[in-house]
């Protein structure tokens, strides 16, 4: 029985050693190179025994992926940190982890020194030359089990502290195997990766690539501003499969790109975690009549994605594409306010059951217990379910549809964001008395409204160090007084109405 994701790579390197695995502008790695380099890294990192997860602090590159696998060879689990994350967020993550080992390049060392990191630093360029200690790697593997942790990725937390979700080999293998079946990946799949490596969305390309011996192109980020060049890139590299956030797809369709240049090799398009405007979706379907379009849905806490819907009919402009049905080996229960199964057509909270559940939040038993709970329908033995906080229902076709959120969480540019985290950061800015965030669902804009002496430029500057790019408000507005409701709370509805009006 497979117990470790590296077994995907170990099988593929035998049949396709010289095929290209991952490519970007500067680096291209074959499966053999990937295999040997990650074992070297694993041999270097396992000379000492680290209890804490190992941070991989590198940009987006095939080298970073090699470092991930290297950490896994050492028997440890990795935490991807990207240089494009703001300084303050990296600091918070370091605080939450207290890591003792970091893999990075020369250029990240000064940042590490800045927040007085005391642990070991491994330079990628050095450790890929370490002699492989096969005996030690074998011993490590022998002792490992499939529910050992594999990575931590951080998601937005409403208290201002990002939450580190810990996934295991088991949950990732369950995800990769079932996703691959749904999207029919194989050795001929050529992926065009869009999502950053520090979010679980990139699992969709990373692990199927080593499972099947496919190839993944890491698309340069700047191309996502210039749709014609982007489609040119897809055609140049004969990319046939993409799993992108909706905003990347609509960027192409909304400028009429598909009439000028068609991505002619594309046959599988997966998207998710946001509503796909039907007008835009229809442009895609018209341009690629034979392609398979699949909507994916799922929380990071249940490893990547949990539900899928393969589009097989046309939609009205005001309809939402369903999230469909759970993956094989995953179960979705809709629980109503009394923690009972929602009746036909009734709304309920989407709760997930299955091996795909992650292990919980790192160093945070309290928030783990709130979200990963005993199945309320089972009072006989321990059984965890994950409460997503998303409200859903079944439509007339028996397909699951997403209705709304229970709280202040939004989806923006494919990222899950707690508006509370942005407010928390803005309230820390000098000369800000009170800051409130609302989301314009129509225009997809985060709007920050504040009182105080600070100028909008000062706040924007301040937030750049505190928050990731995708959480920076798209509009900042100053007002004289905050409106309050009759029971003394900030009147968010009024603010939202006023600032999202067309």
């Amino acid at each position: 029985m497979q117990k470790n994701v590296l077994e995907y790579l170990e099988k593929t390197v035998i049949s396709k050693p010289h095929k290209t695995a991952y490519v970007d502008k500067e680096t291209s790695l074959t499966f053999e190179e990937l295999y040997l380099k990650s074992k070297s890294i694993g041999s270097a990192l396992s000379k000492r025994h680290y209890k804490e997860p190992i941070v991989v602090f590198m940009g987006k590159s095939p080298k970073t992926i090699t470092a991930f696998y290297g950490v896994l060879y050492s028997g440890n689990y990795y935490v991807p940190i990207d240089e494009e994350m703001p300084y303050h967020r990296i600091e918070l993550i370091f605080k939450s982890l207290s890591p003792k080992a970091v893999v990075c390049h020369e250029e990240q060392i000064s940042t590490l020194n800045d927040f007085s990191y005391q642990g070991d630093i491994y330079l990628y360029e050095n450790i890929i030359k370490t002699e492989i200690d096969q005996q030690r790697l074998d011993n490590i593997r022998e002792r490992q089990i499939d529910t050992d942790p594999m990575y931590i990725v951080f998601t937005s937390g409403s208290t201002g502290m990002p939450k580190g979700v810990v996934a295991s080999h088991r949950s990732v293998m369950d995800y990769v195997d079932n996703l691959s079946e749904i999207l029919a990946f194989d050795e001929n799949t050529v992926f065009g990766n869009q999502t950053p490596l520090y979010v679980d969305a990139s699992l969709k390309e990373l692990y199927p690539t080593i499972k099947f011996g496919s190839t993944t192109y890491l698309i340069p980020k700047e191309l996502f501003m210039f749709p014609l060049q982007l489609v040119g890139y897809l055609n140049e590299h004969k990319i046939n499969t993409i799993c992108w956030v909706v905003s990347a797809l609509t960027m192409i369709s909304s400028f009429g790109t598909l009439d000028k240049e068609r991505p002619k090799y594309l046959h599988t398009i997966a998207f998710g975690s946001e509503v796909f405007p039907i007008k835009q979706f229809n442009l895609w379907r018209k341009a690629l009549t034979d392609a398979k379009f699949v909507n994916l849905y799922g929380p990071t806490e249940a490893t990547g994605m949990s539900c899928y819907y393969e589009v097989n009919r046309s939609f009205e402009l005001d309809e939402a594409i369903p999230i469909g049905r759970p993956f094989n080996n995953t179960d979705v229960m809709l629980l109503n306010e009394n923690d009972q199964l929602a009746k036909d057509g009734e709304e309920g909270e989407i709760c997930i059951r299955g091996t795909s559940l992650t292990l919980g939040y790192y160093n945070d038993f309290e928030r783990t217990r709130e979200a990963f709970v005993q199945n309320p329908l089972n009072s006989h033995y321990p059984e965890l379910i994950y409460r997503t906080g998303d409200i859903g229902k079944y439509n007339e076709y028996g397909e699951l549809v997403f209705v709304s959120r229970k709280d202040n969480q939004i989806k923006h540019m494919g990222h899950r964001i707690e508006l509370g985290e942005i407010e928390m950061a803005a309230n820390m800015a000098p000369d800000v008395n009170y800051a409130v965030c609302v989301f314009d669902d129509q225009r997809k804009r985060i709007i920050l409204i504040y009182t105080g002496e600070a100028t909008t430029a000062e706040i924007a500057d301040f937030l750049k160090d505190k928050l990731p790019r995708f959480m920076i408000p798209n509009r900042i507005r100053k007002i004289d007084d905050m409106p309050f409701t009759s029971n003394g709370k900030i009147n968010r509805n009024l603010l939202k109405e006023e600032y999202t009006r067309r």
Binding site: E222, F224, M225, F226, P227, L228, Q229, S247, A248, M251, S254, F255, G256, T257, K260, M413, R445, T455, T456, A457, E458, I459, A460, D461, K464, R469, N474, R475, I476
Partner: protein, 74 residues
């Protein structure tokens, strides 16, 4: 030109758009900004910005955006 600088400042109040001529090269604008900007420019000047106009050169400075708009108005 002033209107364009204002639009840019609305997106990034902290940047000096009169001076900067590497908005794309220095990653000051991202894809969200471009979409937002194209929508605002199309509405404000009643122009259609076709996909061929979406190039790094056209969006690298307030001036190059201004020149593109002028061209499309004529």
């Amino acid at each position: 030109m002033d209107i364009i600088v204002e639009m840019l400042e609305d997106l990034h109040p902290e940047v000096d758009f009169e001076q900067c001529s590497s908005l794309i090269d220095d990653k000051i604008l991202d894809s969200f900004d471009i979409v937002s900007l194209v929508t605002d420019l199309s509405e404000e000047f009643d122009i259609t910005i076709s996909v061929e106009e979406l190039t790094p050169e056209n969006f690298n400075s307030a001036k190059s955006i201004y020149e593109m708009v002028q061209r499309l108005i004529d």
